[in-house]
């Protein structure tokens, strides 16, 4: 039987004093309510985060509901196109699609109670609910994607709604747009009690390594990410080859996304071809629910890479750092705010830079351990769910002016 996770479950994990600070923030919000709205309860980072946060809000006594917008196939096709267009990809969006977006929002709005002091509306799908905002309520649009260089037609359409909110929340300063409403910065977070991040016994880690025939007697260089060109898995193999000329090690590229994405399959095949017959390279196409395996790989790794050439926030960096490992990451997107150069890991700009830093750390175990310890503490204080909860509570206090 699973024990219920409450805010006190994090008392020994969060920085000291944090849980008491949360209780004191909540005292100021007694009797207040919160509503989250997004487009799915299953799959994706937003749902994963809400699945954790919503019970914690309720457990703390803040009445919190989580509503979902239900769409039609055309609506989902439209919002998928919005998603791509807002991130700068060319898309064809017809008037029929814009109308479907409005129609689905209006229809759903009739069936949802918006009676709540604060509402956080996630991403573009339910953004048009703003027309149902009760007068006294405060509404925030929570944007999880990079809208800094959007397709203008889609952004102009969406801005009509966004501009009516009381504020917007972005995950990185570079993701934001020019808006007349206040724009807040809230970083995403990881949950240290989830399967992907919880402590694992050594025997379980070893059994995962044995299952995939990964050697335990040499350093493991690991990258966990979808087989996607932006994650530069081919660059990772080239960096490993440069390292291998000097140091004994193995490389694990663990990811997914190859089964439901034709381009992912193509990248996976290219990666396998680049790996060739090297017995020390392990290319693993994992199912989406392989959280315990990923956790075990990260805990077994000596150095973790996230050599992306384009990245959103890149929470796999925080996951790796939480395991007490130095992470070498591409100097892009959210990787720059997670890695403090030379203190918790290294950001690099090239294959050679990546290889050099791997070699440096493999040959300097003291530096490797120090960076790993710093990395874990940095995540404890900046990227755990407890900090995320504090940010939302503080924003509620500010918006309600209490």
């Amino acid at each position: 039987m699973k024990t219920e996770i409450t805010i006190d479950s994090y008392r020994d994990i969060a920085p000291k004093g944090t849980i008491d600070l949360i209780y004191n923030l909540v005292n100021r919000l007694k009797g207040r309510s919160l509503l989250h709205v997004n487009s799915t309860k299953l799959g994706g980072g937003v749902a994963e985060m809400l699945l954790r946060l919503v019970p914690l809000f309720n457990n703390l006594g803040i009445q919190t509901r989580w509503e979902i917008i239900q769409g039609t196939p055309l609506f989902y096709q439209t919002t998928k196109s919005f998603h791509n267009a807002l991130q700068g990809q060319p898309q064809i969006i017809t008037d029929e699609m814009f109308n479907e977006y409005k129609k689905v929002n209006q229809k759903n709005a009739r069936n949802i109670s918006f009676d709540s002091d604060v509402a956080i509306i996630h991403d573009p799908q339910p953004a048009a609910f703003i027309y149902k905002k009760p007068k006294k309520a405060k509404w925030l649009w929570r944007c999880h994607i990079d809208v800094s260089r959007p397709n203008r037609k889609v952004w102009n359409f969406l801005r009509e709604y966004v501009a009516r909110y009381d504020g917007a929340i972005f995950s990185l300063p570079s993701f934001a747009q020019k808006l007349a409403i206040p724009q807040f910065l809230v970083y995403p977070s990881i949950d240290p009690l989830s399967d992907k991040n919880k402590e694992l016994p050594r025997a379980q880690i070893n059994s995962v390594l044995d299952k995939y025939a990964i050697p335990r007697d040499k350093p493991i260089i690991l990258q966990v990410s979808r087989f996607d060109r932006f994650k530069d898995p081919l660059g990772v193999i080239k960096a490993y080859e440069l390292v291998k000329k000097h140091n004994e090690c193995c490389l694990v590229l663990a990811g997914g996304g190859a089964t439901d994405d034709p381009e992912g399959l193509q990248v996976l095949n290219e990666v396998k071809e680049a790996a060739g017959n090297d017995k020390d390279i392990f290319v693993l196409d994992l199912p989406p629910d392989a959280n315990l395996e990923i956790n075990a790989f990260q805990r077994a790794a000596t150095i973790i890479l996230q050599k992306s050439v384009k990245e959103g926030f890149g929470l796999t960096v925080a996951e790796g750092m939480w395991k007490g490992k130095p992470v070498i990451g591409g100097a892009v997107g959210g990787i720059n705010v997670q890695i403090v150069y030379g203190r918790t890991g290294y950001t690099v700009n090239s294959i050679e830079g990546c290889a050099y830093r791997i070699r440096y750390l493999l040959n300097n175990p003291l530096a490797l351990n120090e960076l790993g310890e710093n990395a874990k503490e940095y995540i404890r204080r900046n990227f755990l769910i407890t900090r995320h909860l504090c940010d939302y509570l503080a924003l509620m206090i500010k918006m309600l002016n209490i």
Binding site: G17, L21, L179, N336, Y341, G342, N374
Partner: protein, 212 residues
């Protein structure tokens, strides 16, 4: 006896929608942005790095060194005291003087080539009662050991600058209530700019425990 009540704080980071991609624009925007933004980039760095001190102790110096890769200006900006005699406006003037002087000595304005722009933010601090209090030096040490680091920030940095007390709340209480002027002076002489919040907590504890 008047007890010391520990108050923590939460920082809400607000994006101003202004960014600089070179040092000239950085200077222009330092001139324009609200003082809360200068304060945020000079001080709240500590709240974001409570455990590990970064490359330099303010966002401007760090950006110039890490993103623009101009060590000369970075070193000069790192040396700017965050406590201006007349408050944060003094700090703004000093930053502008340094960048202006630096730019007047070079022919090309350094900017980001491979790096990230500087995004201006401002912070709003929400103070949070912790319910923890101390009536003696020994109780003070016990509380300080376990309190959230945001309380250290609030009673040292916020008290000195935003609340315009010029001294930390800790020193004021230790001197005025416990009569420990020497200890208060020692606390005031700590160069708090050189520590992470955890480092500062350890230093404060070290000084206080020696007095027990």
């Amino acid at each position: 006896m008047q007890e010391f009540y520990f108050t923590g704080c939460m920082e809400i980071k607000e994006l101003l929608g202004q960014k600089a991609e070179d040092e000239q624009r950085l200077m222009e925007l330092i001139e324009e942005v609200p003082s809360d933004s200068i304060y945020c980039h000079m001080h709240s760095y500590f709240l974001r790095h409570p455990y590990i001190a970064g490359v330099y102790p303010n966002d401007f110096a760090t950006w110039v060194v890490v993103q623009v890769r101009d060590r000369v200006l970075g070193e000069k900006l790192a040396e700017v005291s965050p406590y201006g005699d007349k408050g944060i406006e003094d700090v703004r003037i000093r930053l502008i003087e340094i960048i202006d002087d630096h730019l007047s000595q070079i022919k090309v304005v350094p900017g980001v080539v491979h790096g990230q722009p500087f995004y201006f933010m401002q912070s709003k601090i929400i103070q949070v009662q912790t319910g923890v209090k101390a009536g003696s030096l020994s109780e003070f040490c016990n509380a300080l050991r376990d309190i959230d680091t945001s309380a250290v920030y609030n009673h040292v940095f916020e008290a000195r600058i935003r609340d315009r007390k010029g001294r930390s709340d800790f020193s004021i209480w230790l001197e005025e209530v416990l009569g420990k002027k020497d200890l208060a002076d020692k606390i005031e002489s700590i160069d708090s700019y050189m520590y992470s919040l955890e480092g500062l907590r350890a230093k404060l504890l070290d000084l206080c425990e020696k007095e027990l």
